[in-house]
């Protein structure tokens, strides 16, 4: 037991001290923070009022185009329009809408934002529709009165009769992020284990070490050491992301005005809104399940990656063995989208039971609510399969690490399983 700690310690420290780890730990949250901040920043920017000039013979469309919160239309005469086309920068117009019969062109000296062109398009479409309806003799007032909007409130009734607002969007977001994170971590750290095994084999240090410890201890020490590296990085990412996001918020947003504007009553409304947004989602359960599926999924896959590493002499030879291992993982990744759309379907159920896909898929399903027996069954299957795969991988590993210069085939691997330790 003492020896496996020594191995875990070495594997952990060597990796945490690496420059690549430090860089990734810092760059990761910066990227994530950028993903959070940039869209808000862009959304704010597009909110400014834009002047659109109209060039048209007559007033057919001009009169019907309505100013909106962000668009202001004004007709300008022909000569001015020609001038404008030559010098947008001096004018306070954002774009020029040229109307000729039913042909519409939008001119600007810059890339026209999608929201502007979409806004104008929508209005024009409506105008033309109305013209056609009128020509067909349909009374617009009847049409307007027939128009209706429906908002469905979705509620989940639990067994004790309580209802909660279900929030598909929030569930999707949380499920998606958890699924992707697990996929990423298994891949990154699984291959890290594999590279570590190959390194020891090509360095020829492995025989020195296993004359002191059991091959299984060396393998598990490496797997657990790398798992701690993964957890460290994950925790640092969360902390740093929050730190960066908070700092960025303080810098870019006028917080002082926000806090004074929001009375305590408003604040409490805001809080209740946030909680209702995630209401029905058991955050504690998701967090604990995330830790479990991350660790168990990683343990299962990384032992297989370790077995692959032991069977080859160089990373270039891993392809034929890595592919069958990664196919189920990639499949799970591809299925995230369809499963979010139907989180209680047959596909979703089976994918969250099969241990090779369950770490990713169960995390996608969980925010939508999963029956306890399903969760328990999935956990049970995953635990027993990682015990099985580590046993299986251990057998291949202890033979593989001592086979130098021999290219292993599947047949060879099968034989290794029968060798006595």
């Amino acid at each position: 037991m003492h020896k496996i700690w020594l191995i875990i310690k070495r594997e952990y420290l060597v990796r945490v001290r690496k420059k690549a780890f430090i860089v990734m730990t810092i760059v990761g949250p910066l990227l994530m923070a950028a993903l959070l901040i940039v869209p808000t920043y862009l959304a704010e920017e597009s909110q400014e009022l834009r002047n659109i000039a109209i060039e048209e013979d007559g007033f057919e469309f001009t009169n019907q185009l309505e100013d909106t919160e962000f668009l202001h239309f004004s007709k300008i005469p022909q000569e001015k329009a020609t001038l404008l086309k030559e010098g947008f920068t001096e004018s306070n117009y954002y774009a020029l809408l040229h109307i000729e019969e039913n042909n519409f062109t939008l001119y600007s000296n810059q890339q026209i934002s999608l929201s502007v062109s979409n806004g104008i398009e929508n209005q024009l479409e409506k105008i033309i529709e109305h013209q056609k309806l009128k020509a067909a003799g349909i009374d617009l007032t009847i049409l307007e009165s027939a128009e209706s909007t429906v908002n469905i409130t979705t509620k989940i009734i639990s067994e004790d009769g309580n209802t909660t607002n279900s929030q598909a969007e929030a569930s999707m977001g949380i499920g998606f992020i958890c699924g992707i994170l697990i996929y990423m971590f298994i891949f990154m750290y699984g291959t890290m284990v594999m590279r570590g095994v190959i390194e020891e084999k090509t360095n020829r240090i492995v025989e020195v070490i296993i004359s002191s410890v059991k091959p299984f201890q060396l393998m598990m020490g490496k797997i657990l050491g790398v798992a701690l590296v993964g957890l460290t990085q994950f925790v640092l990412w969360i902390l740093l992301t929050f730190a960066i996001a908070t700092i960025a918020e303080l810098l870019f947003m006028d917080v002082s005005s926000m806090t004074t504007e929001l009375s305590s009553a408003q604040q409490s409304i805001l809080l209740s809104e946030i909680s209702s947004l995630t209401g029905g989602i058991n955050l504690a359960q998701i967090f604990l399940s995330f830790l479990f599926y991350f660790l168990a999924g990683y343990l299962m896959y990384s032992s297989l990656f370790a077995a692959v590493g032991s069977a080859v002499d160089a990373e270039a030879d891993t392809q034929q063995f890595v592919l069958p291992i990664t196919i189920p993982l990639i499949l799970a990744f591809i299925l995230i989208q369809p499963i979010m759309e139907n989180p209680d379907g047959t596909l979703a159920f089976w994918m969250s039971m099969i241990p090779f896909t369950s770490p990713v898929i169960m995390m996608v399903r969980l925010p939508f609510g999963v029956a306890n027996w399903e969760l328990a069954l999935s956990i049970g299957i995953l635990v027993s399969s990682f015990i099985l795969t580590t046993w299986f991988a251990g057998k291949i590993y202890r033979t593989g690490i001592l086979m130098y210069g021999k290219k292993a085939s599947y047949k060879e691997l099968w034989k290794w399983l029968s060798y006595k330790a």
């Binding site: 240090i205 025989e207 020195v208 004359s211 002191s212 029968s418 060798y419 006595k420």
Partner: protein, 298 residues
């Protein structure tokens, strides 16, 4: 004969269809320098791995210091495998400490002993260097230190001199002899027969998964002498007689073989009676000759 530190009895090890060891028997006397010889693929490495409990035999019994070989014996054995290396990116001192602790030493004990050995071999200045900055010979020295650091009762060296220049090879040979004088038993596997001759007192020869020869070197040599002599005379006219036959003849140098039941003195007297002798020498086979003969006869 004094007692044995290690005994293997009828050890069998199979890898699938391939039999690596087929009823191998060896017994390594305490305090000896024991040469483990054999052609490539004979099963030496498998046997050494079995002694180190890297792998287990399919059948047969193993005794270490009188007791069945067990996990706790790991700290009493030091092994320098032929395929050896170090973590390239790790610092020398840190790595040596790690490997010493894996052998069961405490941190402080390991540090103290390592400093002693590094000073002894004059390599203390490498302590904070990364292994990748060292030459192959330098790395070999560190591997040697790490193998012997926990003062095991039994040391197993597989081709310990490969990668060393003659000066460093001599230093390492000296260290091995010193360890032997202190009572450590040494199993020494090599293809270089001259070093076997130089330092081993016992050998075992393994060929095609079986022990072909085993015992003290002088006894084995006796076993392989076939009563032949090299005679150099002043005359070219040496003829066969009742006592010996001539094997080869080159100028005035003859190789003669005693006839069945005849004695050395009788043959010598018969020659002295006829001519002047410049040299008369019993042919003792070299380890190399024994090796080739034993392997080819099997």
């Amino acid at each position: 004969m004094n007692e044995s530190i290690f005994i293997a009895k009828d050890v069998v090890k199979q890898y699938g269809e391939h039999t690596a060891l087929n009823k191998v028997n060896i017994s390594v006397p305490k305090g000896s320098i024991y040469g483990l010889l054999g052609p490539n693929g004979a099963g030496k490495t498998t046997l050494m791995r079995i002694i180190n409990q890297i792998t287990a035999p399919d059948s047969g019994s193993l005794l270490f210091d009188g007791a069945p070989l067990d996990k706790h014996h790991i700290s009493e054995i030091g092994y320098l495998p032929e395929e050896r290396g170090l973590y390239k990116k790790m610092k020398v001192g840190e790595q040596a400490l790690y490997l010493a602790q894996l052998k069961g030493m405490s941190y402080t004990e390991a540090l103290e002993k390592l400093k002693f050995w590094f000073k002894k071999l004059d390599i203390l200045s490498w302590w904070n260097k990364k292994v990748e900055e060292l030459s192959k010979g330098m790395a070999q020295k560190i591997q040697f230190v790490v193998t012997v650091i926990h003062e095991p009762k039994l040391l197993i060296f597989d081709e310990p001199f490969s990668g060393f220049d003659p000066i460093n090879a001599a230093i390492i040979r000296q260290e091995i002899l010193e360890l032997s004088e202190k009572g450590t038993t040494i199993i020494f596997s090599t293809h270089r027969m001259e070093s076997v001759e130089e330092i081993c007192d016992h050998i075992a020869l393994i060929n095609k998964s079986q022990t072909v020869l085993e015992g003290p070197i002088d006894e084995i040599k006796k076993q392989f002498t076939n009563n032949s002599y090299e005679v150099i005379t002043a005359s070219k006219e040496l003829n066969e007689n009742d006592y010996f036959s001539i094997l080869t003849k080159k100028d005035t140098t003859f190789r003669i073989q005693l006839k069945e039941g005849k004695k050395q003195q009788e043959a010598l007297q018969s020659i002295v009676a006829a001519m002047e002798i410049i040299s008369f020498k019993k042919e003792i086979p070299s380890m190399e000759e024994i090796f080739i003969k034993a392997v080819n006869n099997a």
